[in-house]
């Protein structure tokens, strides 16, 4: 069965209007950039608008903003400890950006920028570099003891230390690929079943109902992956602050 629309077409980056920087650098404003701006605007709007009235009994918008705030604050308290609260702004921004990126992509004709590996890798690289710098600044040379597990015979260390080092440097890649693969696979699956709807005629009701169910799964995955991305950043931060 040939698909009229290629399932991967939805990830194409299309320039909305062209900007060429001096030196021939292409800096066009694309659909991905547009949705990133929308995500930032919605996140900022939610928090600014929610904190405008500051009632003792919160209204709808204020409780939504408080819910998001307390969710991340609680996550940091549980997973990093109270000293992690100084990194709250970054983790909250990260969570809202990834969450809104995932959710905006589910709107029909939306664009899922977290389905671009370069976006997720940039986020993961920022987390990885930041966490490593925090660890080195806090502990200096003692940061290297992070790679040496406690109470292990010397012979085993020859094998274990390279594995620890490798598993540390593989973190940004797994963090990036996890989010990217989830988003890309989900949206491709939706598009593949969507392609069957037109191709199967009256029986197209079957793939259509599959798509309806898949949307619910994708909503779950969108929220869950934003949560997982943030909580793993929290766990990496705890490793850097407490060294095991």
């Amino acid at each position: 069965m040939a698909l009229e629309l290629h399932p991967l077409d939805q990830f194409k980056i299309a320039p909305l209007f062209h900007i060429t920087l001096p030196g021939g650098v292409d800096a066009s404003f694309t659909n991905a950039a547009l949705f990133m701006c929308v995500a930032v605007a919605v996140a900022a709007g939610l928090v600014v608008f929610g904190a405008r009235r500051r009632d003792l009994v919160p209204g709808r918008w204020q409780s939504l903003a408080e819910l998001a705030y307390e969710f991340i604050a609680g996550m940091i308290d549980e997973n990093v400890g109270h000293e992690g609260q100084q990194y709250f702004t970054f983790l909250f921004t990260l969570f809202m950006f990834v969450l809104l990126g995932n959710l905006l992509g589910l709107i029909p004709y939306g664009y899922v920028f977290t389905g671009q590996i370069i976006v997720t890798f940039a986020l993961a690289a920022v987390v990885f570099l930041g966490v490593t710098i925090i660890g080195i600044v806090r502990h200096g040379w003692r940061f290297l003891t992070f790679f040496v597990p406690h109470g292990v015979p010397l012979v085993l260390l020859i094998i274990l230390v390279p594995i620890e080092v490798l598993s540390y440097f593989i973190r940004p890649f797994t963090l990036a690929i996890r989010l990217f693969a989830n988003m890309m696979a989900g949206h491709t699956m939706l598009a593949i079943f969507g392609g069957f709807v037109a191709a199967m005629g009256l029986l197209g009701i079957l793939p259509l109902s599959v798509d309806v169910l898949l949307i619910f799964l994708e909503l779950l995955v969108a929220v869950l992956q934003a949560y997982v991305f943030t909580i793993l950043s929290c766990l990496y931060l705890r490793d850097a602050i407490h060294l095991h």
Partner: protein, 73 residues
């Protein structure tokens, strides 16, 4: 064997990774049901969903390879 057929076979083989994801997700939720049946007050559901997401992601790595084989190369 021509390249197109080899691509199809490769993509199909890459989807074997989903076996592991299926076993993993099944394990996570069976453990969750076990824990909640023994102690309904246990606060383990967030951890179960974290485990679900991590297990699901491993399967999707395989699926990503399948897409890569089919559509990119």
């Amino acid at each position: 064997m021509d390249l197109a057929a080899a691509k199809m076979i490769g993509a199909g083989l890459a989807c074997i990774a989903l076996v592991g994801a299926g076993i993993g997700i099944g394990n996570v939720f069976s453990a969750l049901i076990n824990a909640l049946a023994r102690n309904p007050a246990a606060q383990v559901t967030p951890f179960a969903f974290l485990g679900f997401a991590l297990a699901e992601a491993t399967g999707l790595f395989g699926l990503a390879i399948a897409f890569l084989i089919l559509f990119v190369f």
